[in-house]
């Protein structure tokens, strides 16, 4: 397969991802500007991070003037899942995937891009990944820009309803597997419970650290009570 064909294939597979990203990042742009972050900084954050949950938590830390240590730890825990995805994808790369390509392509490993790449037949070409990543990044960054610019112009009722958009996306990611798998349901439920306890009874723990403590505790409990077997790891 030629480089050009691989790239175009990637762009085609990336278009649905880009459309999804566009609307979610629009919500991100609105939220970030609402927290006092400039349009330019919003766009830089989206372009350099390309991740929803991490960015969303990151702007809260910026808004509350948290420490850089808190920022680093929060990003590490929230984005730790990418390590696992990167590890899985690294087994699937074709022979043209040199060190240089790995350094570039790893920038764009997100939940959705991982899902498409890992289920694609055969080995992965760097140009295929560049195709998906470039169109998805475009959707994510452009959506952020429009949200940041028009967030201030749109009626408050409309922009406040967009605040729920990212969370709606998270529901779409956690509910279907929790429905099928009782172990995941347990982890999701216990994590939500811990997080509510932090919010209402331990308000001195900042939001970022609360997410770390609750999620690590829940995942450890899940791993101790319900260790997975190899077939579940896909």
């Amino acid at each position: 397969m030629t480089k050009k064909k691989a790239f175009i294939d990637g762009v085609k597979d990336g278009i649905p991802i880009a459309l999804g990203y566009f609307s979610v990042s629009f919500g991100f742009g609105i939220s970030a500007v609402g927290l006092g972050i400039s349009v330019l900084h919003c766009v830089i954050i989206s372009l350099t991070n390309l991740t929803s949950a991490g960015q969303f938590q990151g702007i809260q830390i910026i808004a509350l003037s948290g420490t850089l240590i808190e920022m680093a730890l929060v990003q590490l825990v929230i984005n730790m899942r990418y390590s696992l995805m990167s590890l899985a994808l690294s087994q699937k790369l074709d022979s043209t995937f040199t060190l240089k390509h790995r350094l570039f392509a790893s920038y764009g490993i997100t939940d959705e891009i991982f899902a498409v790449c890992s289920t694609k037949q055969g080995k992965l070409s760097p140009y295929y990944m560049y195709g998906i990543i470039s169109v998805s990044t475009l959707g994510w960054t452009f959506g952020t820009f429009l949200g940041a610019v028009f967030g201030a112009i749109l009626p408050p009722l409309l922009t406040s309803s967009l605040g729920i958009l990212l969370y709606g996306m998270f529901l779409a990611i956690i509910v279907p597997p929790a429905r099928k798998n009782h172990k995941i349901l347990f982890v999701v439920g216990i994590s939500a419970m811990f997080s509510s306890v932090c919010k209402y009874f331990l308000p001195m723990i900042s939001g970022g650290f609360a997410v770390i403590i609750c999620s690590v505790l829940s995942a450890v409990l899940g791993a101790l009570l319900f260790p997975i077997n190899d077939t579940e790891q896909d």
Binding site: I78, S83, L103, I164, L171, S195, E232
Partner: protein
């Protein structure tokens, strides 16, 4: 503190967690505990981030609560990500207009 510093830390950590395993890691993880922990952590993170924050996401608990309920029902029916996200938001908007 300069916002650029925050962004550098944010982007740097996010890049490294993706880049290091993708580029350098060659060994297979054998510990069942670590594998299980890695398997559960995404769900745990997203759940802790969503509950209870989603109820405050629209600035009005009634609209947020109804939006959440619609989102959970649609997600339970395996609707695509974008449908669930937009429907939650649209529901919250409609409730905001009505009440």
């Amino acid at each position: 503190m300069s916002i650029i510093l925050y962004i550098i830390v944010m982007a740097g950590v996010t890049y490294l967690v993706r880049m290091i395993p993708f580029t350098f890691f060659r060994k297979k993880i054998n510990s069942i505990f670590i594998k299980s922990f890695m398997y559960y952590i995404p769900y745990a993170v997203l759940s802790a981030m969503t509950i209870p924050a989603i109820f405050y996401s629209t600035g009005n608990m009634t609209t947020a609560f109804i939006g959440t309920a619609v989102g959970i029902i649609l997600a339970y029916c395996n609707m695509p990500l974008i449908v669930v996200a937009l429907a939650s938001s649209l529901t919250a908007l409609l409730c905001g207009v009505l009440f």
